[in-house]
């Protein structure tokens, strides 16, 4: 179903005004059956990646759109495990064929994360709005490319984590954000510590993996996509892919965006990145994600954020959690704070599509969260302190580490970016 309501209405009005014609606006409900969005308000939907999270992600997208008054018609799905079962009409194995369809307006992406950035950008290049599962990306520079594409093509992008929406409903959180984004508290004594719930052991990868025959129904080359083509093993697919650096980044990438995103909203750090990351962990395996103890992020204003796994080693003990409030400000700055506007509401995906404005979990905000996650993982993988420049989004003073910020993709896949 073509999304014709914006263009035809605009053209119609322009033409009518030019012609001096009178017209009557016909209410939407007249055009559609009662209780249903009229055809001109029905969007064509598609799902890419129909594994564990896929149906749920698609439903989340649909509900958000329906709440904003749209109807959604599911037109197509795509999964690389459907070799021999794809009809290239409603079922695809190649997302490029799906994105070529002109009747698809919105896409939910639930592939493993090494595909998230490329498919999100491709979908926006094709004129679709995107709801993409977390983690947003596999490495730092991908996220910047997604944020650039969101701006370039004027599309709506929403990351598949929604904690910030709930967090923004709390008055205390809004007050913290207001203080942190005001610039009136520098240095910031705040410390946020998240202990446990990182699923590290659960999403660790295997070692001693003997290669297995590739299932006939799986397009393994396409599955690997921009990541290196490695011998097939079933643990690299279907949820347990989370345990491999080629596709994700362990529990930190799986749960990290959920845990960190609301924290970064609350602490006003969703417009910047840490300047330092330090981890306490065993040396990382080159293929399989493994155990870690804690990771400490430091921001330029002194704010500290810690993930303490409670699954390995001694618990984090350098600092204690510390909130901030108006009492941390001088009297003069408290007065200034009162005059500043409160944080505005976050738009849901559906509202953003309706209003053509950035969603609450837009690509820029999501990039800031996933950059923090990737810096944590880099500190774990490299076994050394990382210094980072939030403006250039490069690691500072460690050229070898910087190679992991933007590793080359496997041909024929390229990241559509100038960096």
């Amino acid at each position: 179903m073509k999304r014709i309501h914006r263009i035809t209405r605009r053209r119609f009005m322009k033409a009518s005004l030019a012609a001096g014609a009178a017209f009557t606006v016909v209410p939407r409900h007249v055009l559609g059956q009662e209780g249903q969005a009229p055809p001109s308000e029905t969007l064509g939907g598609a799902l890419i990646g129909v594994g564990g999270r896929g149906p749920g992600t698609y439903n989340t997208m649909t509900e958000s759109l329906q709440n904003a008054g749209f109807g959604v018609s599911k037109l197509a799905e795509c999964d690389v495990r459907w070799v021999g079962r794809a009809d290239n009409k409603t079922r695809y194995t190649d997302f490029r064929r799906l994105l070529e369809r002109r009747d698809i307006d919105v896409v939910a992406i639930a592939t493993p994360p090494h595909w998230h950035a490329l498919i999100s950008i491709a979908a926006m290049e094709a004129g679709k709005d995107v709801l993409c599962e977390k983690p947003m990306t596999r490495f730092i520079s991908e996220g910047r490319a997604v944020a650039e594409a969101e701006q370039r093509y004027g599309r709506v992008f929403q990351i598949g984590t929604f904690g910030r929406f709930g967090a923004s409903g709390d008055a205390g959180n809004r007050r913290t954000r207001k203080i942190m984004t005001s610039g009136l508290l520098d240095p910031c004594p705040g410390v946020a510590i998240k202990s446990g719930g990182h699923k590290i052991k659960e999403w660790s990868g295997f070692v001693n993996m003997r290669p297995r025959p590739i299932p006939e129904s799986l397009d393994w080359d396409m599955y690997c996509g921009p990541s290196p083509l490695k011998p097939f093993h079933p643990h690299r697919v279907g949820g347990t892919h989370r345990g491999y650096w080629d596709y994700e980044g362990g529990g930190l990438c799986d749960m990290g965006q959920h845990a960190l995103d609301p924290l970064l909203w609350i602490w006003g750090k969703d417009v910047t990145a840490p300047v330092q990351a330090e981890a306490h962990a065993p040396p990382a395996h080159h293929e399989s994600c493994g155990m870690w103890g804690w990771v400490e992020l430091t921001y330029a204003d002194g704010f500290t954020l810690v993930f303490d796994s409670r699954e390995w080693g001694e618990p984090y003990s350098r600092k204690q959690s510390r909130g901030i409030g108006p009492d941390d400000l001088s009297e003069e700055n408290r007065a200034k704070l009162r005059d500043l506007p409160d944080p505005g509401p976050l738009l849901s995906f559906g509202e953003a599509v309706r209003q053509r404005r950035p969603a609450g979990g837009n690509a820029e905000a999501a990039q800031r969260t996933i950059t923090a996650i990737h810096l944590m993982n880099l500190a774990i993988r490299l076994g050394r302190k990382i210094k980072f420049n939030p403006q250039t989004e490069q690691i500072v003073g460690d050229d070898l580490a910087n190679r992991l910020v933007n590793p080359p993709m496997r041909a024929p896949w390229q990241m559509p970016t100038l960096t």
């Binding site: 003997r210 041909a411 100038l418």
Partner: protein
């Protein structure tokens, strides 16, 4: 000269997998798959020091222990993991002496055609972490080897220094997928000397080569390719049209960033005026935004 048994003993200080902690694998049987927990950082550092203190012969003895898991002789994850621990250790700022011992030892094994494909690929990927310009000529020589090309290209591009001339030298002999890998590598490196090669590739019979060429030229900000890229985009359909149009927009951004606003404007005007179908309204709007026209 370090005894291979000494190296093996050091390797065995690494922990078993969780599965083997519960039930050790009987000697001679295939080790079971499973998760593992590495040593504490200070223990790992000392282990790395112990290996590095044995010098090149010790490193070679360790590399000899790395096996392909598909082989019957595969015994354990531990040798390969320890090699990577050494990579992480020697890659730290300030440990240049250690890095200069480790990287060449890896490179020699990569060069050895009798070494297993598995080992060569593993070490090429390790060199992506710690290799330097001295590795480039050797790795570039592997770029036309279909089994090694992807890994070698990724490492050569990651090293960056002096990579482009070596990649260009391999192109005349490259065919099929390997040719695509090399062209894409030159695009990633933004090699100005690759301009003519990429321009020619815009007309290649393979769409993926054409797409990679336009992308590379956009990254170069090649103003001489404006018309060719726009023609490529206008004349294509579906995925290729999307990609080539995207590269045209990237080219415009690169030109703008370097002060060539008139040329960027020409691209935007072209896209604004030619993308008239409803399904490309977002391209038209993108061009109009870039031209400073407010889009409703």
């Amino acid at each position: 000269m370090p005894d291979a048994n000494h190296i093996a003993a050091l390797v065995e200080t690494l922990p078993p997998t969780d599965a083997e902690l519960k039930t050790p694998t009987p000697k001679g049987e295939t080790p079971r798959e499973g998760k593992f927990t590495g040593p504490a950082p200070d223990v790992a550092d000392q282990l790395c020091r112990n290996i590095l203190d044995t010098g090149p012969d010790g490193l070679n003895a360790l590399l000899d222990m790395v096996r392909d898991p598909a082989e019957p002789a595969y015994a354990s994850y531990k040798p390969e993991y320890l090699v990577h621990c050494l990579t992480l250790f020697a890659g730290r700022p300030g440990l240049e002496k250690e890095r200069r011992m480790l990287a060449p030892a890896m490179l020699r094994r990569v060069q050895n055609e009798d070494a297993s494909l598995y080992l060569r690929l593993f070490l090429i990927r390790e060199l992506q972490w710690i290799g330097d310009a001295s590795a480039v000529p050797v790795l570039a020589g592997l770029l036309t080897n279909e089994e090694l090309a992807d890994a070698a290209a990724a490492t050569v591009v990651s090293i960056g220094t002096d990579a482009a001339p070596h990649i260009r030298r391999q192109l005349p002999d490259a065919k099929g997928r390997v040719r695509l890998v090399l062209l894409q590598a030159l695009g990633q490196l933004r090699d100005p000397e690759a301009r003519d090669l990429l321009r020619a590739a815009l007309k290649d019979e393979e769409p993926e080569v054409r797409i990679a060429a336009a992308w590379g030229l956009a990254r170069l900000g090649d103003d001489g390719s404006i018309q060719a890229i726009l023609r490529a985009a206008d004349g294509a359909k579906g995925w290729e049209r999307m990609r080539q149009t995207g590269s045209a927009l990237l080219l415009a951004e690169q030109l703008s960033a370097h002060g060539n606003k008139d040329q960027a404007t020409a691209i935007y005007i072209h896209l604004r005026d030619t993308r008239t179908e409803p399904h490309e309204a977002h391209i038209r709007d993108a061009a109009r935004r870039a031209l400073g026209v407010r889009v409703a």
